[in-house]
Symmetry: D2
Subunit: 140 residues, 4 copies
């Protein structure tokens, strides 16, 4: 494992430099290593039925997992998703950001597994739940 | 089931009207109901390591599943994804479109299940494989 | 929804009557509807490497989901799994039961979605995590 | 990769020695590395609704993936499942064996990913589809 856990500012700078198109924002990095990431919701995130599109929530889940792992192992740009599975639970609100909290279930030498709960901001019931696996490069 | 299978042109028009931000293109609708959908790859689809980002492939998988279902049941805008699971298999090429083929495994009254294989255009080995479930609204 | 939430004893009796081969035991049914289910671990549950076999944990996850749903909707024998996804996180102990806690994420009219955490009894770190979807028959 | 692809007889002997409780049988090992595995269906495999229980199909999927990988990399008992996701598509017949065909999607140095189609013997429509990932130990 990396000896250095990156700060909130370092993760934000990394995200901005490496994923300039990304619209997710890192909201929190908690002591226990969980992270909170948000995505704006506007015209281009909505789909028929006036709800947030699935790809927006999948993008949010993927970024939350990625930052959740980097927050723990240090900034390792070449970590790659090997598997992501998402259940869509409820219709998200069209007038709120979607917010994801990622917590790692396992942080091994070569694989990290995390879960992500997604909410419409300020609501109690989750709109989606994802689990994902990342492969961590051997030499770092 | 709808009695009318939409044409390629009808599906394209629907996609354009309802998902104007979407960058996927419908390439083929086959007799057996499988569909082929592509996504361009350029600066904004790439991530560190010079590979296509996971969210681009998840978006492509979701759109391919959606069009694969609509091609069979008719244009039912309120069909919603309930579950999507994707395995990332190989690094996609940075200089080719990604192309997805969706085939339905099951088309029931209330649920449709499909699988999607994703390739870098012109390559033989898949870069990702997804399965997904859509809930089909009762009254239509 | 059923108006009657079954008691612990009713669920145990149902399990015994309908799944006589089943070796899982229902340990708890909590107020919030989460359930705890256990599976013994002995010679026939172990595999090379002296660990609990994957199918034992998948069986436990499936039974925990099933009972977690029946505890909420009443005894509906025809509810069927439509999807189950499991991540194996750590090697379970060979000398302890495996214990699963299921909590529902969503209980809709036609679909229920739950998550299951599995532990070696008495240990803090989970050995597996599963999510599953059940289709609930319309008329009951 | 191992230089030795095991024979059908070697895989059967391994299965018998290491998983004596297992009731799956290896039916075929094809040139392309896909394998066919079957599970008997009798009283103890059935559940309410007169259908094959989910755990039987998950067990079959897991064994098919395991043998599908060993058929390609050689007999490596410590390969372990890291993820398995299964979609149940149709009600299996109560009077036929269930038969699974596993084909690998990816065989990497540290991870193998495969898919499994499950059928009631002699039927055309699949009853279930699974994908799974196995971690392959480094030194072998």
């Amino acid at each position: 494992m990396s000896e250095h856990r990156p700060s909130h500012a370092e993760l934000v700078a990394f995200l901005k430099a490496e994923f300039p198109q990304n619209r997710c924002t890192l909201e929190e990095v908690d002591e226990d290593g969980s992270v909170v990431v948000a995505h704006p919701v506007g015209e281009r995130e909505l789909r028929p039925g006036n709800t947030v599109s699935g790809p927006v929530m999948m993008t949010l889940a993927d970024v939350a997992l990625y930052l959740g792992i980097l927050a723990r192992i240090g900034i390792v740009p070449l970590a790659v998703t090997t598997n992501l599975s998402i259940n869509f639970l409820r219709k998200p609100r069209a007038d709120r950001r979607v917010v994801a909290r990622c917590r790692l279930m396992k942080l091994g030498k070569s694989l990290a597994v995390g879960e992500v709960w997604i909410f419409s901001e300020g609501e109690d019931e989750p709109v989606a739940h994802a689990t994902g696996t990342y492969a961590i490069p051997r030499e770092r």
